[in-house]
């Protein structure tokens, strides 16, 4: 058993109002630089819709993630040999137009324009070429709130897969928001796609990063990631990606997107997992089993054996305690209401989603007279086709989605009965039974999902620098004889420059 800790996130989609505050604050912190104007480490998509970049879920085109051939995992875009043969041209890489051509406005014209008959205007100007654009035709949220309607929605690969017709009439349609960041996968295909070995997963917290000194700009990571969350900086000619705001998480603070989320939909916590089981878990035959097999790699942080092993392997006490308090553990493992995005990519993603319930409940009109059982058909007849959610979150397994939604409905029924009354307790048990959950759990869920405070939503242990080897050297001090490096220790002949 090789125990590793992973900082993970849950997003509760029911609470997402699609305000893009996460995207904007993230952009202001990380990607407001030349070469990165088109990049959004965090973006919020309106679903159904093609997302950003356009139709990123089209794995036949971008060839992201893993496939199983003869029981073995292979990169969908081809292994190392085929990558080296294709290194001069990456056939599956997205172009700028798949994202969008970033633009600004010529605001100076508003100020500097000479006196004329007509009011001066700020014309859009490309941030790639510096030329004026007559009219921008696509952006990262061009289809926000179903703008584009029946013209744009069919570009969604999940919609193309649906048997059912999706109603686009205003009164009949549905939508939901899907905020996305890098998944910091347990089995990241971007890391395996990098010819230079520049991408890596950190031992301490599982954050996936790009070593900017080692990256040579071969670009296989950009489409090797099935979530399309590794980006090419055309200015430095290197790959960059969401870094889970590691300078903040190391200090025990939540990521910028989580901190600024007005709906408080995001939860961050630690999970302990067995790194030896990752490959096996990603290699199960049926994609529908991937959700359960991913859950099987996580370890119970209360199990004394796990605790002993973890401490033995250098996982700090505070990390184990955080794993026990982890809201992610509760939602993903204990209550099983949070689901991984597209488990069929076999990367074992670590940003989890609680599917939205509101669009179902909003069309129940007689809720005060409804029995608990009455909610079961409501879940089954929801406006968002269950297949659509299943296509996003459970590799097309609708039973998983149904169970989560029943739990959410049961929570709603129970809390409603508790506060305003009106539900027959006898009948409630039927819903509870189908949802497979207890009253105590429902109340815990309601607290975490509804009223949890900052320190319950974000349980992040600090990076423990004091445990580092050679810490005194890193601080530039060497006062004590014992701390001198062992003889023969490898040191660099030249210190590499920083910031160049």
């Amino acid at each position: 058993m090789k125990i590793k800790a992973q900082v993970a996130m849950v997003m509760h989609l029911d609470k997402c109002i699609g305000c893009h505050t996460c995207s904007v604050t993230c952009k202001n912190v990380w990607t407001n630089r030349p070469g990165m104007e088109y990049v959004w480490y965090n973006n919020v998509e309106t679903r159904p819709g093609p997302g950003y970049p356009k139709s990123w879920e089209d794995t036949d085109r971008y060839k992201g993630g893993w496939t199983l051939r003869n029981g073995r995992l292979h990169l969908k875009a081809g292994g190392p040999i085929s990558k080296l043969a294709n290194i001069f041209y990456n056939p599956n890489m997205a172009e700028m137009d798949d994202f969008y051509e970033p633009w600004t406005y010529d605001y100076q014209n508003l100020i500097k324009s000479p006196r004329k008959e007509n009011i001066p205007v700020a014309r859009p100007k490309s941030m790639i070429t510096g030329d004026y654009i007559d009219k921008p035709t696509w952006g990262s949220n061009w289809d926000d709130d179903l703008a584009g309607g029946s013209e744009v929605v069919p570009m969604d690969p999940n919609v193309q897969k649906l048997q059912e017709h999706i109603a686009m009439e205003y009164e009949k349609t549905f939508m939901m928001y899907l905020p996305r960041i890098c998944e910091h996968c347990l089995n990241p295909s971007c890391v395996a796609s990098c010819p230079s070995g520049a991408l890596y997963k950190r031992d301490e917290d599982g954050i996936v990063l790009v070593d900017q000194d080692a990256c040579r700009g071969w670009r296989f990571c950009t489409n090797g990631c099935p979530y399309h969350k590794v980006y090419y900086n055309w200015n430095t000619h290197k790959a960059e990606k969401c870094n889970f705001c590691y300078p903040r998480t190391e200090a025990g603070l939540p990521t910028v997107c989580s901190e600024t989320c007005v709906g408080r939909i995001r939860y961050i916590g630690v999970l302990l997992y067995d790194a030896d089981k990752v490959k096996e878990a990603a290699s199960v035959e049926d994609p529908k089993d991937l959700y359960e097999s991913q859950l099987s790699v996580f370890l119970d942080p209360f199990d004394p054996e796990v605790i002993a092993k973890a401490e033995e392997q250098g996982i700090n006490r505070s990390w184990i305690e955080s794993a026990q308090e982890s809201p992610v553990y509760k939602m993903a493992m204990k209550w099983k209401i949070a689901l991984p995005l597209h488990p069929e990519y076999r990367t074992l993603p670590m940003v989890w989603y609680v599917p939205p319930l509101s669009p179902i409940m909003s069309h129940i009109t007689n809720e005060s007279q409804l029995s608990a059982e009455g909610y079961i058909p409501a879940v089954d007849d929801m406006r968002i086709p269950m297949q659509y959610l299943a296509s996003l979150l459970s590799a097309d397994d609708t039973t998983v989605i149904r169970k989560v939604l029943l739990k959410m409905a049961a929570m709603r029924v129970h809390m409603r009965a508790k506060t305003v009354g009106g539900i027959d307790d006898m009948k409630k048990s039927k819903l509870l039974q189908e949802a497979d959950i207890t009253i105590e759990e429902l109340e815990d869920m309601a607290r975490l999902l509804g009223v949890a405070k900052y320190n319950e939503r974000f349980v992040i242990p600090t990076g423990r620098r004091e445990m580092d080897e050679d810490l005194h050297y890193k601080q530039g001090a060497c006062s004590i004889e014992d701390l001198a490096p062992p003889e023969g220790m490898v040191t660099y002949p030249f210190e590499r420059s920083e910031g160049l």
Binding site: I87, M93, M96, G197, L199, Y200, R202, E204, G217, H237
Partner: protein
């Protein structure tokens, strides 16, 4: 004088610049060391230009290894007579040279004609393409036209031994004096190209990821051991 300046001092200056500046850039300007792709701006022309050029230049490189680095004695002892050698050299080399030239022309046109690419093409990028085009164009002309119409020049007796003698620090520069002017220009321009490598995007050739097929697919690094060579791998 020509033997001293052009065929002794000049190559060593170029070689020194290549080695010293390459190491300097790798160590002190590490973050500028990439294959500066513009694929995100334009794909269709790149597909043709880049693939044809890169495979062409690999063939050409192998051809130069065979023609310049391997002594003529080796061919003689293997029983490859001059006629056979030159047929192979002209056909193979001509093909590789044409690929390089065609690829470069595609890439150069691409640089001009797509506004997004053009906006992100520096002087160094144009310089590299033009110099490469001169070197490769001359080489291809020599291989295909000069060798078949004038004379199949036996560079394995002059340029080859001279080039090898540079590495033993005992240059026999006199060998270069009787070489046809076309070949001389090709050699001089090539050395200029070598000297320009560390200052242009050409450095990416030293980073061809040969170790990729043998390494573990998943890379783990401890924050603590970030700069300790490899980090620990699963």
């Amino acid at each position: 004088m020509e033997a001293l300046l052009l065929w002794t001092v000049f190559p060593y200056i170029c070689g020194t610049i290549l080695i010293v500046a390459t190491f300097y850039r790798f160590i002190y300007r590490g973050k500028s060391w990439t294959a500066p792709s513009t694929e995100i701006f334009e794909k269709k022309w790149l597909r043709i230009g880049s693939i044809v050029f890169h495979y062409g230049i690999i063939f050409a490189f192998v051809g130069h290894l065979m023609g310049v680095l391997i002594p003529i004695e080796v061919y003689n002892s293997l029983g490859v007579d001059d006629h056979t050698y030159h047929i192979f050299a002209i056909v193979g080399g001509g093909f590789a040279g044409l690929m390089v030239v065609m690829g470069l022309i595609f890439l150069l046109i691409r640089k001009f004609s797509f506004p997004r690419v053009k906006a992100h093409t520096s002087f160094g990028d144009y310089f590299t393409i033009v110099l490469l085009l001169l070197v490769a164009g001359l080489g291809t002309y020599m291989t295909i036209i000069y060798n078949t119409t004038v004379v199949a020049y036996e560079y394995r007796l002059t340029i080859g031994p001279w080039f090898r003698s540079l590495f033993t620090f005992n240059p026999v520069s006199g060998l270069m004096l009787g070489v046809p002017t076309l070949f001389k220009v090709h050699v001089v321009l090539s050395f200029l190209l070598f000297a320009s490598i560390p200052f242009t995007k050409l450095v990416h050739m030293f980073s061809f990821p040969v170790r990729y097929p043998t390494r573990a697919p998943q890379q783990y690094r401890a924050r603590d051991g970030y700069r300790k060579n490899e980090g620990n791998k699963l």
